[in-house]
Amino acid sequence: MSKNVNINVHHLTRVEGHGNIVVNVTDGTVEKCEWQVPEAPRFFEAMVRGRHYSEVARITSRICGICSVGHTLASLKASEKALGIKVSHQTDRLRRILKHAENYDSHVLHVYFLIAPDLLGAPSVFPLVPTHGDVVKRALRMKRLGHEWGACLGGRTTHPTRPVVGGFASLPGGARTVREAEAHLRELKDKLLAVVPDAVETYKLLCELAGNIPAFERPTEFVGLVDELEYGLYDGAIGCLLPDGSLEMVDVQDYRTVTNEYVTDQSTAKFAKHKLDSYMVGALARLNINHARLHPEARKLADGLGFKPICCNPYMNSVAQFIEAVHCVYMAVEYIDELLTVGLKDEKPVAPSSYGRGAGAADVPRGILFHEYAYDSDGMCEMGNCIIPTNQNHANIQCDFDKMVQEMLAQDLTEKQMELRLEMLVRGYDPCISCSTHYLDVTFRK
């Protein structure tokens, strides 16, 4: 084969942040095949040094505008571990409901606005407006729920203000009384149940589009939380699932034995690996690990979509995200019922009992993340370490590229087809590479 290919995608669209795809093939020989991340370092770990424990989660939640709930919760759990704090049952349940809100909200955004255009053959959501208006409207309805759900628990969905070290700063809905807070939870439950018809329509749409999902498989290691209580999102141990089905459990305090971060010339972001050359985190990893813990209603949809663990097609990450979104709705309803049955209490946050070092984890929309802090005897932060999901996926994306490019050359795909397939792969991972600015730039009409 004497094929020449020159793919150079600078700043891939419909991903969060900046990443490049570079593939050079000369006379059928792959000379360069790289997933590059050119983002600058952001120094959050330095920012938290010298800060009081009460400030740390507010700072590190700003690592990400989408996964800010997960960063907040992982940060709080790390601080609570370091400060000898055990939170109440009520706090645990309210945080779980909040965590579910984040995963639901992000998954709706990703599946509908970032992935659906690929499956429908459109360059973005804008061309779909005239032809698929009802789908876009449905997506907006579902998205509104995600925001209201998160805001009810967290004060706001992005960078939540109510979760604090030791508990919550105020009751759900910002209520002044327990009775008012319970009314807010009942109202939220009604809204959650009202989204079910839209979820069913989404399921039908995905069934229609499933044939457009590229067939590609590469066995890899999957890493995600394993929680005794439910599908791992808010808490648990680190589960490391190998393609042969073996599952290794690692305590969150030993997370560095899993992440093994390293630097590479092709990227300013660190890469990670554990048992194999790379591992995958995110919805597909979680679903492979936690399939048996899905809520029965989500399990039905997973079966209907033909999902069977262990699935090694990274393009199926978006399908896994939808299944998770449904799981999140039903689990939140169950937790609300539980809280209303027991009755809410007006609890004060638990105070520190010691000062030391601790790590915390949460499994956010894009995968498992870790925070670790050490505090001095005045509660001031001495060190911080934060490992985000997307960095853990970079090596896996690169390994997928290596295999896929060879396969696409063998299939004699055109350069444009190869480029689209690679772009879709990266978007499938839902990478969140950095945060950027969003200002308007306008000129006044005459």
């Binding site: 669209t13 419909r14 991903v15 969060e16 942040g17 952001r42 920012m47 700003r62 505008g65 989408i66 800010s68 955004l109 606005f113 970032l114 255009p117 360059p123 973005s124 959501v125 804008f126 407006v129 005239p130 208006g133 876009v136 409207k137 907006l140 309805r141 998205k143 509104r144 925001h147 209201e148 805001a151 706001r156 969905t157 992005t158 960078h159 109202e187 950095s434 945060c435 950027s436 600015t437 969003h438 200002y439 308007l440 730039d441 306008v442 000129t443 006044f444 009409r445």
Partner: protein, 156 residues
């Protein structure tokens, strides 16, 4: 405010990117000071798509608060309606990192969504580098922004 409220003030921006966070900080101040008695504060952050979810029959008025480069002096603020301006920004698609709220508003119109009365409170930024805070020129005028936003929400 209750969920039946029909008037919303949405703060857009990114805290971590200097003056880009001004919209978010203004609405946060309004909520913290308890000034949101006749309207609902929505801290939208970088989630511009959220604006479109408020295009519904139950919404009477939306005030979007954001950093806007309109050629003014740093810290200067103005109000305008989306139809008063043209965007100079190129956005290849939609994510929380790229996207243009003016383009989203146009998308809402194309979808046939009920478009409420929309006003934009635009604050001219000085710096949008990742430095962890507002420029002094903007921080010094926070009370003015808050008062202007609340007064705008009091108008029909």
């Amino acid at each position: 405010m209750t969920s039946q409220s029909r008037r919303y003030i949405l703060g857009l921006g990114n805290y971590a990117m200097g003056d880009d966070g001004i919209g978010l900080q203004i609405v946060e101040q309004i909520a913290d000071r308890g000034l949101d008695r006749r309207f609902t504060v929505v801290e939208a952050g970088n989630d511009g798509m959220l604006v479109l979810t408020y295009f519904s029959a139950e919404t009477d008025k939306l005030l979007i608060v954001d950093a806007v480069d309109f050629g003014g002096a740093p810290g200067e603020f103005i109000f305008f309606a989306p139809e008063d301006v043209e965007t100079r920004k190129y956005a290849g698609g939609i994510s929380t990192h790229e996207g243009d709220v003016l383009r989203l508003i146009e998308m809402g119109r194309t979808l046939g969504l009920p478009v409420p009365q929309i006003r934009i409170l635009a604050v001219q930024p000085l710096s949008m580098q990742m430095d962890g805070g507002l420029s002094a020129a903007l921080a010094a005028r926070m009370d003015d922004y808050v008062a202007a936003a609340v007064a705008e929400m009091d108008k029909p």
